[in-house]
Symmetry: C2
């Protein structure tokens, strides 16, 4: 039976860029689970099945509703144990650390680079909600936030040092094959790639080669996703 | 058969504080493996069994020599599969990220707080080697490095945010029980605790409560370790 995922969309229904939804899409592909994605916008909180907290991803599987990418990945491992995303309790713990580091350290840096691009790709009805909530968070206009992105990207590349060190030696974070930790990290890069043409990584960064490998997985699932569409601003 | 670990010692043979050696001591206790530790000093590179690269930990198990804490933890999981430290390939990958983050982000900050205290606890014959190599690394005298430790500790507490978030919800990083990821992180705190009375954590930080739980594991193995001995300076 096909799973359903409520997935953030831009102005174009096919433009999907949420870093958290991408974790789930890659995880479902990893397990070979058929997935239907339902385009959703920030201002459609009432359209989400319950229980959920007004954000995506929300997954529906055989009538069961699971919100939050971390809970969804763990749910998938419990219900569909083949091809584990984590595979052990210590793995869940260490992956949780990676998830939190990604969200607390990496995402804010990437956000300071691409947030104005995200805004420009949104459906008209989402734009003022997005601008207001993000400008409140940053205490600056979106235009002011991204003004320093040439400096921000240097901080991002510095923060990526542990990732870079691993990927000098391993094909994927998880070893010879990609798994949960890779999908968690990949979401950030796919988010940026889908909304912005600003390059986060130098081409000789092992993280860049890893990103290319991730894009190619599952018949190029992430590579085929519409990237940085130019919507009317 | 008892395993042997070459373990960094201070002026006092019983004073053991290497963050990397503590990872191994906790990991062996986790697996219930009997371990004999051999005190070793920085200036005794020739005393280490080969192959090793002049640093500890070096583990000897049935004639096999394994150097480097990460390699040792993985060796232990392979040879003694019960009570896994990691337990899956994705776990090894995510734990490797935690290890690198610990070494590249956390250790340098803690080092800037305790490095002068480490020096003061060393055997006389290790002191000039240690001072010279560390002062070269920092480009400052040890005394200058620690002068700003009131500021450094704030940066450390900020960097610990992902750890703190996990430990708000979980008893150990690895879940209900401690495992590899916990021992990797714990080494840093045990290092600081064994050489310095400078408090790294606020008492209401969930990381502090976790540290207390870690100290109590294995009949208080880490808690019983001589801490912050006052050697003659």
């Amino acid at each position: 039976m096909t799973l359903k995922l409520y997935d953030l969309a831009g102005a174009d229904d096919n433009h999907r860029f949420s870093p958290y939804c991408w974790r789930v899409r890659m995880a479902c592909a990893h397990k070979g689970l058929p997935l239907e994605t339902i385009p959703w916008r920030f201002t459609e909180k009432d359209r989400l099945p319950q229980p959920s907290n007004g954000t995506v991803p929300v997954l529906v599987d055989r009538g069961e509703v699971i919100a939050d990418s971390w809970r969804i990945l763990n749910f998938l491992d419990q219900r569909y144990s083949a091809d584990p995303l984590f595979g052990s309790e210590p793995a869940v713990g260490a992956a949780l650390f990676l998830k939190l580091w990604t969200e607390q350290i990496l995402n804010p840096l990437v956000s300071r680079i691409v947030v104005r691009d995200v805004w420009s790709k949104l459906a008209e009805r989402d734009r003022s909600y997005f601008r207001e909530s993000r400008e409140k968070r940053f205490g600056q206009s979106l235009e002011q936030v991204v003004e320093n992105r040439d400096q921000t990207v240097l901080r991002l590349r510095e923060a990526l040092e542990p990732v870079r060190t691993i990927l000098c030696e391993r094909t994927f974070l998880s070893g010879a094959s990609a798994a949960g930790p890779d999908y968690i990290l990949f979401g950030v890069f796919q988010w940026a790639r889908c909304v912005s043409s600003f390059p986060l990584l130098l081409n000789d960064d092992p993280t860049y080669a890893w990103q290319t490998r991730m894009l190619g997985l599952f018949d190029g699932l992430a590579d085929r996703a519409p990237a940085a569409l130019d919507q009317a601003e």
